[in-house]
Symmetry: C2
């Protein structure tokens, strides 16, 4: 689209460079910004400049942090022996929000995906191995997406850690809490049958 204004074209182009924002949405957002006061637009842009300037990646787990090492890694009440391996910061935040995990994290920065040009050297697997050896980790939990790329990465990590003494576990896959069975895809439903757990038993051992 050409809006016959370089400024508007530029702004729409920048806005639509964000993932999932098409040209029409971008125009809507840009015109919304244009309706705001100069101060509000300044605050809007400053937030991203500040973020980029002062936020960096934790030197241990690659989570985002305003310091050298992130808050989670610096927290002495969280166990060093348990590391949860995640794809990205969003997944880390999702797990944090469950309040069910009290170990540390390791953010890979992606999963192996030849289609997207992401190879084993583009993700932080060597750094993970080093950490496990140095920090005497006893268990790593693989919490990568349940996709082909996630599974490939799981297997790559497993192979990479073969000579390291550490338990490797995988988050469970099955039907989601609150889901109706009829709407679940057959692969997930099949997996949830195979991975069934004991509920109660009357048979004495």
């Amino acid at each position: 689209m050409d809006f016959k204004s370089k400024l508007l074209n530029d702004a729409v182009e920048q806005m639509s460079s964000l993932p999932g924002i098409g040209q029409r949405s971008a125009l809507r957002l840009v015109l919304h910004l244009l309706d705001q006061s100069e101060k509000e637009v300044n605050d809007f842009t400053k937030a991203f400049i500040n973020l980029k300037e002062h936020l960096n990646f934790c030197d241990k787990c690659y989570h985002i942090t305003e310091q050298k090492t992130c808050e989670i890694c610096r927290n002495p009440s969280r166990s060093d022996e348990l590391i949860c391996v995640v794809q990205d910061v969003r997944d880390l935040l999702a797990i944090e929000s469950t309040q069910q995990f009290y170990g540390k994290y390791h953010v890979l920065g992606g999963v192996i995906s030849p289609m997207d040009g992401i190879g084993p050297n583009d993700i932080k697997v060597n750094e993970l191995k080093e950490r496990i050896i140095n920090e005497k980790t006893t268990e790593i939990i693989l919490a990568l997406p349940a996709t082909m790329e996630g599974d490939t990465t799981n297997f790559y990590i497993y192979r990479k850690l073969q000579e390291v003494k550490v338990n490797i576990t995988l988050i469970s896959r099955g039907i989601g809490v609150g889901n109706q069975l009829e709407y679940i895809d057959e692969l997930t439903l099949g997996k949830s049958l195979l991975d069934r757990s004991i509920y109660k038993t009357n048979i004495s051992n």
Copy 2:
């Protein structure tokens, strides 16, 4: 959501201040920006700062422009006698993209909507009346949304212009090009029957 980082919280809050962007999407967009180079983030923010600084509203039709009067109003090959009244800049751009209109525009800046606190004095109707009188306009086309608010505004404009000699027309309402009749709501379908036009006739006058 609290991301335990003021910078991240601020950035997500600013991003989710945009219409239609929730907290989850905002986080995704902000983390995308964080992945970009410092130059790219600067370019991103500068586009909006420039837009706000140098773009303003045309002193005649209230379209956006980098000058005092917009390109459309300055174009001598476009008729002054025909003014198309639209709700906002997006609707103007939508009509421009049809390449079917060679008159001028008048951007109201909204439609009357008591629920949203927009009254008759919040939209540029007095300015429209003045223009019609000064520019000797012969026809105005009301191209407002086909909603209750749009209809209210149409009627308000009609009343406001009662003593002015000008033809007031309304863009046609009916079934969209390429639409199947079975999926069209009954109000629209009913209207398209009432507003039918002559296709061909064998009856000689």
